[in-house]
Symmetry: C2
Subunit: 408 residues, 2 copies
């Protein structure tokens, strides 16, 4: 016990223990003891928060840009980058911060994260289609892959939970740290941006590295088993990172983020039999094994047949419809979070999955996949997509650069 | 590192390490390393979740009872008690749970907490004034102390976030565990109760034991410094636990819970100078020390004067108005949580404090305190109370008893 306590104390006492720098793999991060105040490197070839081992908490925010001056937008991105880098190191948003500045001025940091560690904070920025309108002269720079999402069958989107010019995905192992980061970005942006919508999430619904045990979503199923993992550079290259020549050069090394707020009708689900639930997903609820297999990580075999030649994984099972095999090889990197937002006013919890995925070209990946799911997936009977966002996440920044610098 | 990892592994591997039983003080709980899967004893003289060292996460739910049959209500409380006891031990809500039952029946647990530890889960039940109407023949049993709260100046209460027949406060160190518990209680209650409102909270805004470092609220101030602590039996006896003779006998050993959803206008606050913020609270932002003192835990001295004989802690400072000295000795046990619920639709985060307090008689404690604060506290300019609840929390249950048994 003393050994543990002393080490913990030591860990907390430091301002934050940086890992092996930009070279640290997400896998190494996941293997760190949870209590250590982990710092995820901010700079790198790609933005953090994509292949980073999924942290426990999410605060996702979408902003409308309220200024129409390009220079103010650029200034903001510059200021944001400095603050973001500081906060991911576990520092305050600005020098002298919450209590070190002049007494008769508003503090430069809001203070609620004083004394907390970096908690693996990552801040990932993305630009929505609406940013590329004529306000900022960015029409020409809009990537063709950033095409507005089509309306999918059964979509029930709330404009107040959809769209936005700029998104920031804040992930951390402490919600107060994620909330603090978003709030300070909003504060810095006062007069230039306004919060359009924001979403808190908890629990990882997706594991993004091999070292993480697969967490469960609110249907009680392991979620993230057959995901692209950070340890698989080939899959990342083929399905996640934008390449030279894929579109405008400023996006090379970036990726596209799709966010969907998916309400889950958990009360109806909870009255569905175990057999039916497993048929809908195509996996066992307990072990997470594909139907017809024994272990969670056994490959999904869509061809195994049971009695009467009926496939064990039904034609309308979620994992069949979403499988690369059914979609001409298409894959995505999922990185969603569970949410519960109080009650829906009709006696039920407003709960679900805040689905986030990263892909190289949504037109060829997320869109056909969601077309298939929204038209054929039996799970859709228990779901309602009520928020949606699409954002182009620029590549990582080098020291001295700012978020999206290559776009401007 | 190996030492830490092995111990952590060991900690996680067990089904949950029960502490020294009902005798364990909240202080001992707080001293446990955070990662250990802690079990807080369910049975005892008082309900858990009141003097228990505040866990990191809250899921608070208020139910309307939809049946008008007393027997069904009693059955529900009986079933709930069994499930609550199981879940606080880290078990599934019912025997055979999520995957152990018949394939062709809905599972007896929703499954999203499979594989997670007890995470210090506590479930605390309370009965609202509306439960004591004629539906269940409980009019006579209504404690006089459970008098409807008056309307306070500047109250802006939303009926959809207020009131309710029964509340359950679920606190845990893992939000998925707290959400799972509330959801399974709602599922068990299907047909007898409906969710009226629910609230997620994070970060402890109040420390309730001496071993916990004081966390910060979303104004960036340490919150909970001058709180009743679990280690102080005299204060608990005087201000928290209902005594024999205080009212109906079924409440002896219980307490009254007041919940207030307090929206904080953080954007306005963030543009207020440090000096002004400290004058409003009456404490230093950095250290948490009372104005005029050096250290956080130095006693508040309301009489220290500065230049010109003006009191250092202003007449309208929060800590002066809320101090026992200003209120004829009145104290409360605070146990609130921060919240962030997306955006308010006007470009701001909907964030604040979900205030929870426990007191022996709200008519003599919470009500006069909130009267003073709502009419004189400068902090009110930055606050909006938009939800409210009052509940009688019965005493703890003995093995074999059910929640509120002595009421029925
Ligand atoms: C609330 C909504 C959803 C729930 C509850 C859900 C749940 C699941 C579960 C339990 C699995 C199996 C475990 C795994 O391999 O991760 C899975 C797999 C998958 N899901 Fe979903 N999912 C949802 C929405 C979506 C959406 C919107 C997409 C994309 C458009 C998607 C794409 C996938 C993919 C690609 C897989 C892996 C399939 C394979 O085995 O190749 N899911 N999902
Ligand atoms: C969002 C609303 C509120 C905020 C931000 C807030 C913040 C604070 C802060 C920073 C302190 C000083 C540290 C401490 O001793 O804990 C404090 C003390 C206190 N607050 Fe509040 N508070 C709020 C609402 C309330 C309400 C509604 C009540 C009760 C009606 C209350 C009762 C108290 C009491 C009793 C103290 C201790 C005063 C003493 O030193 O004796 N607070 N609060």
């Amino acid at each position: 016990m003393t050994e543990v306590s002393r080490r913990r104390l030591f860990g907390y006492a430091g301002a934050g223990v940086a890992l092996a720098g930009a070279g640290a793999t997400a896998g190494a991060l996941a293997a760190q003891p949870k209590a250590a105040p982990r710092v995820v490197p901010f700079h790198g070839e790609h933005q953090a928060g994509i292949t980073t081992a999924a942290q426990d908490r999410l605060h996702f925010v979408s902003f409308d840009v309220t200024t129409d001056k390009r220079a103010e937008l650029v200034d903001l991105l510059r200021e944001w980058t400095i603050a973001a880098e500081r906060m991911t190191r576990g520092e305050e948003a600005a020098d002298r911060g919450a209590v070190g500045g002049p007494q008769h001025a508003p503090p430069a940091d809001t203070g609620e994260a004083l004394g907390l560690s970096a908690a693996s904070l990552t801040l990932t920025v993305g630009f929505g289609p609406s940013l590329f309108d004529k306000r900022f002269g960015l029409e020409e720079a809009r990537p063709p892959a950033l095409a507005d999402l089509p309306r999918f069958p059964a979509d029930d989107l709330d404009p107040k939970r959809s769209g936005g010019d700029i998104c920031v995905q804040a992930c951390a192992d402490d919600p107060q740290v994620a909330v603090h980061a978003v709030r300070n970005l909003a504060r810095i942006g006062f007069g230039a941006v306004a919060v359009r919508w924001s979403q808190l999430g908890f629990g990882r619904t997706s594991s993004t590295t091999k070292d993480q045990a697969t967490p469960r979503n609110l249907f009680g199923f392991k979620d993230g088993t057959n995901n692209i993992k950070a340890e698989n550079p080939d899959e990342l290259r083929d399905h996640v990172w934008v390449r030279d020549g894929d579109g405008p050069q400023w996006m090379a090394g970036g990726t596209y983020l799709v966010a969907r707020r998916i309400r889950m009708h958990i009360e109806t689900w909870d009255r569905t039999s175990l057999a039916e639930q497993e048929a809908i997903v195509g996996r066992k609820k307990g072990s997470g094994a594909p139907l017809g297999q024994a272990e969670e990580f056994d490959p999904v075999d869509l061809h195994v047949k049971g009695a009467g030649g009926v496939p064990l994984i039904p034609e309308d099972a979620h994992v069949r419809l979403a499988a690369a095999e059914s979609l001409g090889g298409v894959k995505i990197l999922r990185r969603g979070y569970n949410f519960t937002d109080g009650s829906d006013g009709f006696g039920h919890l407003d709960a679900g999955l805040f689905f986030i995925c990263f892909n190289r070209d949504p037109r060829r990946q997320f869109v056909p996949m969601q077309q298939a799911l929204s038209s054929k997936d039996t799970m859709m009977e228990y779901l309602k997509h009520n928020g949606s966002g699409l954002f182009a996440c620029p590549p990582g920044v080098r020291p001295g650069e700012f978020w999206g610098q290559r776009l401007f």
